[in-house]
Amino acid sequence: MGDCQDSGQKRWDHLRKVLERPGPFCHPDFEPSSDILDFIMTACKVLVVGAGGLGCEVLKNLVLMGFKQIHIIDMDTVELSNLNRQFLFRRKDIGCSKAEVAADFINKRVSGCHVTPHFRMIQDYDDLFYREFHIVVCGLDSIVARRWVNGMLVSLLNYEDGVLDQTSVIPMVDGGTEGFKGNARVILPGMSACVECTLDLYPPQITYPLCTIANTPRLPEHCIEYVKVVQWPKENPFRTLLDGDEPQHVSWIYEKSLERAAQFNIPGVTYRLVQGVVKNIIPAVASTNAVIAGICATEVFKIATSCCVPLNNYLVFNDVDGIYTYTYEAEKKENCLVCSLIPQTITVKDPTKMKLKEIYTLLTDSAQYRMKRPGLTTNINGKSKTLYLTALRCLEEKTRPNLSKTLEELGLSDGSEILVVDDTSPNTMIIRLKYLSGDVEMN
């Protein structure tokens, strides 16, 4: 049966009512017509990033909202602890690609839809792949991955004489959950607040200072963290890296943590807690995922059809106490690292004293950048010069001495551009050095 015929089926009468009838709350551009359903069924390509708790739900919601040209990407495989919420997976699927199992299930259950799975990392694809889509929906638990997708979509924007070409905008709908809390947002890259504009909304991961866990542990978490970061590397019990999915590894950590806790009389080390700390587990439940994924899919539907004005632009959900939602407009940051056209500058007081290490730390630690392990290069007299690279161990070791050199020693000058690459972005970011003394002279 052809797709064109399909949109005329009685099965889709629910959708046709809101797409083929006018309404008082529609987007001003909305013109009711049967073409809209045809468009979402045959032409509108949607990418779902993540096939976990949110991804499975989003996928199901989209196909029942009429979308058929859907791609889903996830490099994870199904685990037992997914089954309490990732409803497209069964016990027999454990170990298989989440994206493939999910796509297969949906294609079988909902006749006529074509979900294409990608058992890949998001970084395995370049702009040519991402450019294909009309809308991208993210259901991820990783902030780094979110930032990467956001960076990719911003890099696809075209500007002509500084004016944004709106046809190059690929809307991004993003959802996140933790326990009974969640959020959903709509990002129009280049037009509304992007992930980087609002980086402070994502709390940094809890870390325990090394001196506490080594010298003055008080909580069970301190004991576990100590075993994980100090004892494991030292004793290397299995001659391999710690794998939180390997029960033997977790058991080892559990037992050693118990010993350490006993030494300090600290109560409360349990196997569950050990697992939680080792794997950095975020509690998750089917109901919250269902709510947030439902909101995300509704927004995709609104964007694709104009049958309502989309969310502007951030929604917070919490059902710990009753059911609570709150929506507001997150603001675009004027000098956003990713989506503004304003070049980033770092002001330098004294280039004879400031070391490269300080710039590196600024990029990793400041709330503005929060990069993972940036690599830095520059151009001096038209020639590329490596400042510090982290990608390969040998390069890291070779370039490490540069960190303790001053900017002057490295041959950098006022206006020099540092090219930064990092896991949080698919693009090279340019940061310009601005020497304060130079300013004074110009004045």
């Binding site: 008080r218 058991s251 439940v285 909101i295």
Partner: protein
């Protein structure tokens, strides 16, 4: 080989599968969930989405009551039906697909309408821990609501139409021990410590510590020391007002010496002590909410039918009357400190909590005996949990839905003053139900009837408003919008409501987290929601 023989507890399949949710409601919450039986009336897309989020986390058993046959429209919105199922029993097909989600869940179905079941099998619904209804006709809703109110079985009613959603909880009385508040103040009792704590804290004189000791002394000791100083200054008065608190903060700050550059460097523990001033110097009286609870008739007039919750309340009441203090939580927040000092403090709080819980347990056992109830009515474990959370105990007494329709016409005027109020959608949904009752179709169900239906629905709503004595006028556009839907059920809207309603069901079953009280309206057009207590 360094690898030791594993002596870790063997994890059960279930605890692995449910790991992510056990971190939220614990093994005891999970046990209640696994013992619960729910009934779903009408396996609409919304209905099955609710059950999905109950089957996945492992509800004990479900029963679907639905007399409908699967239609083509159903296939377009309900994930638990496929195109081969048109014409089959909707109850049967959805039951089978839902059971595939979790082999630990049992499920069955009744291929009959709820009206039929209500009139032919008296008390059928009394066997459930919870009944959930979707797309209920007004008449059935009223009957069911009355019946379950009498039978004391909680009811959740939901509706999903177009971009609108409605959830209503009906529960006579619901008690919560673990509310899991987002933030809670530490319970430290520094202004009137019990003897053991006082003796321990009195041992440390902050002014006599050397610099190394200073840097390791817990914030609790620091704060206690300066509270005492404050009391010395003020004839033994307790710090209560904002000024008092500021004074203590100032004293802590001033105790820090200047370094060679003339800068005061506040060490982490002193900063924490300043920080604790705000949250830890709450007045020591019994929280109002707890007081109300302890004076409740259900607490003061126990009967053989009293629930363990009320028996524990009565025991707690006795304990408070004799000791003039509520049980301590028994835990302290983390704070910069050497391990030994911290653990010593922690143990003092923990011991006190245990002793108090034991006291309450003894009293509870006596009450149980006096009532002639079995000795295991209340367990020691339960009492410990109860005492630990005594400052956050919660009770909700609901109202019967049928009353909104028959007895007390709801007083909505105050809400309707705001023309943007989502309460208007409640009014419209009530009008919609009456419309369906009168004309046996949804307003706007047929393309050529949209305009006439708008008029009819407006008249019905006008009547309703005047019955309720409301003078406000509904904006026409909202009536138009609802008629535009023509009864359409959009899957993603049902998914949102399904998740939210399922979570309310989990709250009711596990007695953890505070449930909705009692009406929730979701407007997906603007992504706004509101809660009303009707």
């Amino acid at each position: 080989m360094a690898s030791p023989a594993p002596k870790s507890p063997e994890q059960s399949e279930k605890s692995k599968k449910y790991d992510r949710q056990l971190r939220l409601w614990g093994d005891h919450g999970q046990m209640l969930l696994e013992n619960a039986k729910v009934c779903l009336i009408n396996a609409t897309a919304l209905g099955t989405e609710i059950l999905k989020s109950l089957v996945l986390p492992g509800i004990g058993a479900f029963t679907i009551v639905d007399g409908e046959k699967v239609s083509e429209e159903d296939i377009g919105s309900n994930f638990f039906l496929d195109s081969d199922s048109v014409g089959m029993s909707r109850a049967q097909v959805t039951t089978n697909s839902l059971l595939e989600l979790n082999l630990d869940v049992r499920g069955d179905c009744i291929d009959e309408t709820p009206e039929h079941v209500l009139s032919h099998t008296q008390n059928f619904f009394n066997n459930f821990d919870l009944v959930i209804g979707t797309a209920l006709p007004e008449k059935v809703l009223i009957l069911l609501s009355k019946h379950l109110w009498e039978a004391n079985v909680p009811l959740i009613v939901c509706r999903s139409i177009g971009f609108l959603g409605y959830i209503r909880l009906q529960v006579k009385e619901h008690t919560v021990i673990e509310a899991h508040p987002d933030s809670e103040n530490p319970d430290l009792r520094l202004t009137n410590p019990w003897p053991e704590l006082k003796e321990h804290l009195d041992k440390v004189d902050i002014s006599k510590l050397d610099s190394k000791e200073r840097s390791h002394v817990p914030a609790l000791n620091i704060l206690y020391y300066f509270i005492k100083k404050f009391q010395e200054e003020n004839d033994g008065a307790q710090p209560v007002s904002r000024n008092d608190k500021n004074r203590i903060r100032e004293m802590i700050k001033n105790s820090v010496e200047y370094d060679e550059n003339g800068i005061q460097i506040l060490e982490e523990n002193f900063e924490e002590a300043i920080h604790f001033v705000n949250t830890c110097l709450s007045s020591q009286t019994i929280p109002k909410q707890l007081k109300t609870l302890l004076e409740d008739d259900a607490c003061t007039n126990l009967t053989q039918n009293s629930s363990p919750f009320w028996i524990m309340c009565a025991a707690l009441r006795e304990m408070i009357q004799s000791d003039e203090t509520i049980p301590v939580k028994g835990s302290i927040p983390d704070m910069a400190s050497d391990s030994e000092s911290y653990i010593a403090l922690q143990q003092i709080y923990h011991r006190k909590a245990l002793a108090q819980a034991e006291n309450v347990y003894r009293r509870a056992c006596q009450i149980v005996r006096n009532l002639g109830l079995p000795q295991d009515t209340v367990s020691e474990q339960e009492v410990k949990l109860f005492c630990k959370h005594s400052s956050e105990l919660h009770i909700m007494r609901g109202s019967c839905i049928a009353d909104e329709y028959e007895k007390n016409s709801p007083d909505l005027s105050s809400y309707l003053e705001d023309p943007d109020s989502l309460m208007f959608y409640y009014v419209i949904l009530r009008g919609l139900e009456r419309f369906i009752g009168e004309f046996n179709t949804y307003p706007g169900q047929f393309d050529d009837q949209v305009e006439p239906d708008v008029l009819k629905l407006k008249i019905i709503i006008g009547k309703l408003l005047s019955e309720w004595g409301c003078t406000q006028v509904l904006r026409d556009e909202r009536v138009h919008e609802v008629c535009r839907y023509g009864g359409a059920e959009l899957h993603s809207i049902s998914a949102i409501l399904g998740g939210a309603a399922a979570h309310e069901a989990i709250k009711l079953i596990t007695h953890q987290y505070k449930p909705l009280n009692n009406t929730f309206i979701y407007d997906a057009i603007t992504s706004n929601s509101a809660t009303y207590t009707l």
